[in-house]
Symmetry: C2
Amino acid sequence: MLITRQTDPDNLETPFDRLGGLISEAHYVRSHFPVPPLDPASFRLEVTGPGRSPRAFSLDDLRRLPAHTRRVTMECAGNGRVYLSPRASGVQWELGAVGTAQWTGVLLSAVLQEAGVPEEVTEAVLVGLDRGQMHDPVQSPGPIAYARSLPLEKAQEDVLLAYEMNGAPLSPAHGAPLRAIVPGWYGMAAVKWLGRVHLQAGPYPGYFQTVDYARWEEPAGLPAVRVPLAEMQVKSQIARPAPHETLSCGQAVQLLGAAWTGQGEVTRVEVSTDGGGSWADADFLDPPEAGVWRRWQMSWTPPAPGAYTLLSRAYDSAGRSQPREHDPLKGSYEIRHTLPVPVTVRP
Amino acid sequence: MLITRQTDPDNLETPFDRLGGLISEAHYVRSHFPVPPLDPASFRLEVTGPGRSPRAFSLDDLRRLPAHTRRVTMECAGNGRVYLSPRASGVQWELGAVGTAQWTGVLLSAVLQEAGVPEEVTEAVLVGLDRGQMHDPVQSPGPIAYARSLPLEKAQEDVLLAYEMNGAPLSPAHGAPLRAIVPGWYGMAAVKWLGRVHLQAGPYPGYFQTVDYARWEEPAGLPAVRVPLAEMQVKSQIARPAPHETLSCGQAVQLLGAAWTGQGEVTRVEVSTDGGGSWADADFLDPPEAGVWRRWQMSWTPPAPGAYTLLSRAYDSAGRSQPREHDPLKGSYEIRHTLPVPVTVRP
């Protein structure tokens, strides 16, 4: 049920045209390094930082804290990369590096409260127990661990340290025994095999903050600067028909898709069946739920044989929508322009 | 008199085996983009920043401020890159991307005093008027200007905005009509064709601070972070004999070289003629002068025919010396391990 994009480390994509329930039947897998061998019995989550002794939490310690369960839609920041031209390096995702799951764990804020947060702290660096050598686009100085930093404010807001996924213990591929879930952020923030939370004052310019998983920003009149990727942007995708499907003239089909955003909620999805010439509102299948996608549908009866380009466009409560073209400042990430689904209608 | 390493933009190297006076006869040239066409009459240096109107300085305005002349040794951070194995991408410098010149201009501190520095400012971003598209190792979002940031403390200390080099007007290749000279820092800080000084609070994560001209640092227990290159490290080089030169057995030769450091002064140079087995002190030809190299020499009479490896090693007043091996945390920069000069001694 998953498309293999890379093996060892495994990068596996959900076939997006099989979109069914709100919860993804087979959630995509994104790994930077091979799965580290971890023993749940001896596993410890360390909280480290300035002017304090490290605190270590066993899985039992974490389970003693209040459990929270929530649904979260997670999108890989490189989802849809095959739609970039010229081809961009990186995993060649189609539409399926996005999915929704129900996660159970403890709030990072509760762990931080137990451990104590010194006043000067501004960031929480989440460090994975997976590690390896990076070659591209910049050579790392040796094997490095996967790590990602969060502003303290986000870390104390709604970040979950999950030990269960969809009611079952986390699988090794999804970060067992413990991973972060960062609602509203691209998947790179959801550090798997989480071994350490390091509190620090000031930014953490690690490999996956500056070299990789960064975008460009142009401060007024200055040359572009590198900014770590963070919140998901509003986006919709068409699941069915699938790209290059053949439909029958005069026969109604249900266009089905999903739309999500990192801030607020998706308020509207429009669909075009003529390559963007005209647009019509789709109907939502799901009520708005913070951090979770909304499936949508629209009935369409192809009026005549020929080639058609289907597009969808989502709006969110923050007043944002999808652009027509990919923004070059985003490099090979945040691919959220209206992606064309070409279909053929036969007589 | 200069070795061509690249054309358009020109990257030109001094033949280091021609080391003569304290001032380099032909100073190396490092350019990232083609020379921008600039008219000295209409040229303005802009000082911009938060909560203030921009200030513009013509060349006449700058010449009305007190002139300062000083000698500075400048080394490209990638000098010696051909000695890295495996081969590192970037300009393939041998030993001659280092040189000493006498620069005349106005102190950046005087310009900042004229313009005013708001209290919250921590950095001064020096922006060149040259620009172009970067492809490697990371694609820039479009043509970008060359820019480099300095901590305000350094900017207010001894940075020169130079309009003369060795008593003559600055040449276009060296940044006419105005360039920065940052004593003690690698050459990437000495922004040529300087058009703007932007004052800001907080770091400037531009291309040449994070993607390029950055090294790795390993904070305690955390995965490596990217740090902008800054001060030159202590280093010595052998100018003569040149690599692969043939000498005569029993005939005295003068080993000649230079040594420099970004902090304090070079206090000692040792030379080995047996590949590092034994070391002897060299004699300095120059007294210590902050920010300027010291030439050194040592007489050597090859005792027997055969293959020899000459090495030199400098020490500075900050207690630093040169390592035996290149530090992988420095990537393709700060190549300052003891570089071997192989020579053959004939009977």
